[in-house]
Structure formats: structure tokens, C-alpha cells
Symmetry: C2
């Protein structure tokens, strides 16, 4: 391909890996290097905060825009399926940007040989999830690839939301003393998908936590809108990765109390077996929020109205800058890094 | 997946095939059956016109929305590559809906093992195409699948455009006597990709016609805006399929003169070799337009300013309804059907 260089200033590519590896899709450090070292500088002329929706004024409307591809294996698992994930994942990216989800576009890459009943099941799942989330599906596209590719189906959803006037979110507004709220149990989605693949002998009744976060966000904005600083749904890379991005984007420190983070025994079991930290496991229906200290209890009450397991897991501090620290009840502390490598590939 | 049924009225599925086949992605009859017999009723509560962007009012703005996945093999071919197609294809879907292309979102499904230089080349191609088309790339997502899947990369682009006030397009406005305009040579893209795969002994200097149609549409709207009835970029399924959709959507007849349709000798050669009709071959930079008779010559002059090979290929008639007829110079006539089967898989 020849042609003139893009108009936007292009940073020198810092992505030095010779080829793409699974870890580049895991949502952690390697993904950040790929996106900010190659894709974002070339396509967008700068870096980007992973997982955020873009805000844009188009035709006089203040919109949030986001798109995600879903390649989860297997297509169905306890508590959800690829179609439901594809709707909720995109809806949640809009919600945590402080935008009311409005319209989705859906494209499908189908594998030749896919049974029609599976496609039909997923279309029903998407329609039901869209109805629950209050969004319209306006259009899309379907491609078919040869048998042996695409593992049945890949789904891409693009979402358009309308910026909510109650929201004034910005990492730049985060201050030491702000509280970190978490909406509920973590790691359920990642561990559920892993167990659904078989091969691990563990008797667990885990279900994916996939759900639309908009009802929760809507109530939060109503109750404590101006006190909300930052929101994120910690999917790929888990809570640890989202908090590390917050620390990096704010130049501040994030301190969490290990025993405050809600983790089910089954998730702990899977993680111990595999040598993983539940903080690195993907969620599909959890909300992380930074709220000013005086509004924290009111915000927690709102979260608990939707999910009893919601809790304040920590606070923002001035130092050590750009670092996430987990403190134990016994006074110990450990630095929590972003996800490195890809222990759980194709989780969403 | 369980859950309540979607709120929208769901037509009884008329899609009776037991499994997905390559032809369901070819853009012709089988695609139409899949979309209108299963996907659109379930996701959108109705049927949809293939290839059209959806029009929606969001946050007070009148927007056009579209999304396409690109799975072309090989990734690069004379005249273009997957990245350039992914930008131009989505830009063109907006343009032919009478909307000024504004913003794109890009998602990538990458195959583990993809060489970074290929990814970098395609990111450059996308950036350059976006710059030429005057659109911003606002965000996106990257997933990685195991080696052996996704043929290097699949690209999905979602596009948002702003409805242009000069445009009042509607199949319902098409009348007998309206002229059918075509912007240039057909079949170049499909034949180029086919030849790029190798295996056919033919010495051709064909190049894909991929380009942004917005400059052409912009000038047309300026010159004859109110006289424009309908536009389409005839991609998968070719000119024949687009005109059959027009005939079906209007309950009218489309008559074209075979010798007026610009086809290069090389495209004719490939088509004769494979028993295909150039009218069924995919294009990526051609515009089909229906214009009122009194504005047809002015519209043609605009098209010829951009592409000398533009021509008036036929007209709309009252009968035979829902039929496309190609008339030869010798007085013969043949009915042109939609594409059936998938002679050229994964062309975009």
C-alpha cells in the first residue's frame, strides 16, 4: 500500500515485537504496548486509554463512541454467551464513559458449517440483552469464512451513546483521598469461561457476571453525579489492570485493602490452582468507580441497592505515584502490576 | 442463554437452512435470506435493505450509522489492501445514504503469528485512506486469536455520518423514467482479488477500484441534490444484486443496456473463463445512482468530472415489476438475477 502519510503527527513506533502473540490481546501490558506503541499513533495520531469510549461532537450532539470485537471460546457458558457479552460489553463501555447507551451496530463473522440453531440462539441472546439494556440495534453486516476459521462466530458491536449531563468524569479530576468503589464479586466471568472449556477438575457453580451496568451508573449519576470522578468496567486484565491505568493516567497512587475485595471461594480456588491473582481475572458486569470522599457512602448505598456485595475497596493517595498497592489485614503490602502474558486467552 | 423474548415483534424465521454456508456471505440471494429471514427479524424486529446505512436521530443529531467486517483474502492486492477497503467500504456506505462521513471506529481480530510489519502496513493504509476520505478514527479494540485462525487479520469498521441536507434519498421516490447512472468500470475489484490468489493463468494489469465515493457524492448533491432518488455502492453481489434490490424495494422494473456498462477486457476475460457475469462481480469504488430524467445529463457531467468512464446505463420502467432486464444492441433481452451461490468468496 502506498499513499501519503497520515496528516496527524505520528509518534515513532515503540512496538518492537516482531510478531503478534496471544498476550497482545489479553488486555494487559502487552496490549497496552501494541495499542499505544503502534495502533493508536498510526490510526489516531496519539495514544489512547484502553477500554474507554471516545467522546465526539457530531452533528451538534455530544456522543460517546465505542466498538469491541468478541472472540470468546466457548460461545456459551454458564450465565451468558457471546451474543450477550457483545451487547453488554459495548453498553458498559458507554455507561462508564458517562453516556446513556442509545444504539448498537452488530457485525458477524460466521464460520461455514455453523449450525443455524446456534446463530439463532445468539441472535435471541443479543436481542434480549439489548432490550434489557434499553438500546436499539440499528444495523450491521454478516461475513462468512471457511470452516476451520472463526470458531463458529466472532461478533463485533459498535455503540453510540449520548453524553449524560449529570456526568463530569475525568482522570484529571481524581484527587488523593478519593475513594475506590467496586460493585461486586470479581473474577466470576473469567473463571466461568475457563471452567467451561473443560480440562480442570473443579466442581464450581460459577456463572459469568455479564450484565448491563447502565442502571447502576444511572442511579449513581442521579445520587452523586458531580462527585463521580472516574469509572471503568474491569474486563480483560481485571481490576488490577484498570487500577494501574488509573494510577498511570493520574500520576497518583491507588491503595486497596485485599480483604475488602469480594472474591468467591470458587474463584480463589481456580486462581490458586493456576497461580493467578483474582485481581487479574476478567469481569463483564462489575463497575470500578472513584468518588470524592464525602460522597463515598452515598455512592456505596446506591451500588448496594443493585448489588449487595458492592464495597469500598480503597482510596487514592499521592504516593507512590503511578503504583497500585494492595494492603493485607496483617500490615503487609504488595505492588499489584498490570496483567502480564495471557493466562486466560479469549475470555471475551 | 435464557431470558425474556425481545420486545420487538419477531417474524417467524423463514431461514430454513440447517447450517451456514459460504454463499450466505456472498451478498446475493442467500445473504438476503439469512439477513431478512433470521438476523434482522431477531435483532431489529423487521427486515432491512442490505448494504444501507441506518438513519437515526441521536442526541438531536440526524446521523447515518453503518458497520462492516472485512475478511478479504489475500490481505493485499493490486490497488489496495484490507485496511484501505475497511475505511473506504464504510465511508461509501455512509456516502450513498446521503450522509457526510465523519468518524470511524476500528476493531481488529489478529492472528497470533501475524508479522508486525503487515499490521503496521495496514494501519498506515487505514490512516491514509481515512485522511483522504476526511474522516477521523476515534477508537476501537484489538483481539488476538490462535495461529491458524483469522487469516492474518479481520478488520471491522463502524462509521458515523451526518445526514446531508441536500440529500432526500428514498426508494419510494423512484419513478418510471428515472435514469440509472454508473460511475465507471465494473468488476475490477473482484477480479483483482481473485487473480491475486493465484491459480488462474491470466496476464492482467487489473487493480482494485477501492476509493472514497464521498467527493463524487458531494458534487452530485451540489449539482442535482433534489433530483437524486437513490444511491448504492455495488459491492458484494455486484451491480446486478444492487439493481435487483432496487427493483424489489420499488416494485418497479430496471432496464439496462448491456453495451453501456463499462467492463474492461481483462474483467470480461476472467468472467468468461469462470462462467461469471461482470454484473455479479464486486466493486469497491463504484456508484450506482437513480436520478430524475431532467437531471440525468447534469448528474452524468458531474460523475464524468471524477471518472471519465461514468455513463447512463439504463432507466426505471413500470413493468415487468421487481425485475432487472439487460437489453442487447441486437434487440435481445435477458433477465438479470441476483448473485446466487458464492463464486468469489471473501472478496471484501
Amino acid at each position: 500500500m502506498s499513499g501519503p502519510a497520515p496528516a496527524a503527527p505520528v509518534a515513532v513506533s515503540r512496538f518492537m515485537d516482531a510478531q503478534i502473540e496471544m498476550a497482545h490481546g489479553a488486555g494487559g501490558k502487552a496490549t497496552r504496548r501494541l495499542i499505544n506503541g503502534l495502533i493508536a499513533p498510526l490510526l489516531m495520531g496519539g495514544t489512547t486509554t484502553l477500554g474507554d469510549a471516545a467522546m465526539a461532537e457530531i452533528g451538534g450532539a455530544e456522543l460517546a463512541l465505542t466498538a469491541d470485537s468478541f472472540v470468546v471460546r466457548p460461545l456459551q457458558f454458564p450465565g451468558g454467551s457471546i451474543g450477550e457479552l457483545a451487547v453488554n460489553g459495548t453498553v458498559n463501555d458507554l455507561a462508564v464513559a458517562g453516556a446513556r447507551p442509545h444504539t448498537l451496530l452488530v457485525t458477524l463473522v460466521l464460520e461455514a458449517g455453523l449450525r443455524t440453531e446456534i446463530l439463532e440462539r445468539e441472535m435471541h441472546a443479543m436481542a434480549a440483552a439489548a432490550r434489557r439494556a434499553g438500546v436499539a440495534i440499528a444495523g450491521g453486516d454478516t461475513k462468512v469464512v471457511e470452516h476451520g476459521h472463526a470458531d463458529g462466530m466472532y461478533v463485533t458491536t459498535a455503540g453510540i451513546g449520548v453524553k449524560d449531563r449529570r456526568a463530569s468524569l475525568s482522570a484529571a479530576a481524581v484527587r488523593p483521598g478519593d475513594r475506590i468503589l467496586l460493585s461486586g464479586y470479581i473474577g466470576d466471568h473469567g473463571c466461568t469461561v475457563l471452567l467451561a472449556r473443560g480440562g480442570i477438575e473443579l466442581d464450581a457453580s460459577l456463572r459469568s457476571d455479564t450484565r448491563s451496568l447502565w442502571p447502576m451508573v444511572d442511579r449513581l449519576l442521579d445520587a452523586v453525579g458531580p462527585a463521580m470522578r472516574w469509572m471503568r468496567d474491569p474486563t480483560r486484565g481485571g481490576v488490577a489492570t484498570a487500577l494501574n491505568e488509573l494510577a498511570a493516567d493520574t500520576d497518583l497512587s491507588i491503595a486497596i485493602q485485599d480483604d475488602r475485595v469480594p472474591v468467591r471461594d470458587e474463584v480463589r480456588g481456580v486462581c490458586e490452582l493456576l497461580g493467578l491473582d483474582p485481581l487479574h481475572i476478567a469481569n463483564e458486569g462489575q463497575l470500578l468507580a472513584v468518588v470524592s470522599p464525602e460522597a463515598a457512602e452515598a455512592a456505596l448505598a446506591v451500588l448496594r441497592h443493585v448489588d449487595e456485595s458492592a464495597t469500598i475497596i480503597g482510596e487514592v493517595r499521592a504516593a507512590p505515584a503511578r503504583t497500585v498497592v494492595a494492603e493485607s489485614t496483617y500490615g503487609g503490602a504488595r505492588v499489584i502490576d498490570m496483567l502480564v502474558g495471557d493466562p486466560l486467552p479469549r475470555i471475551c
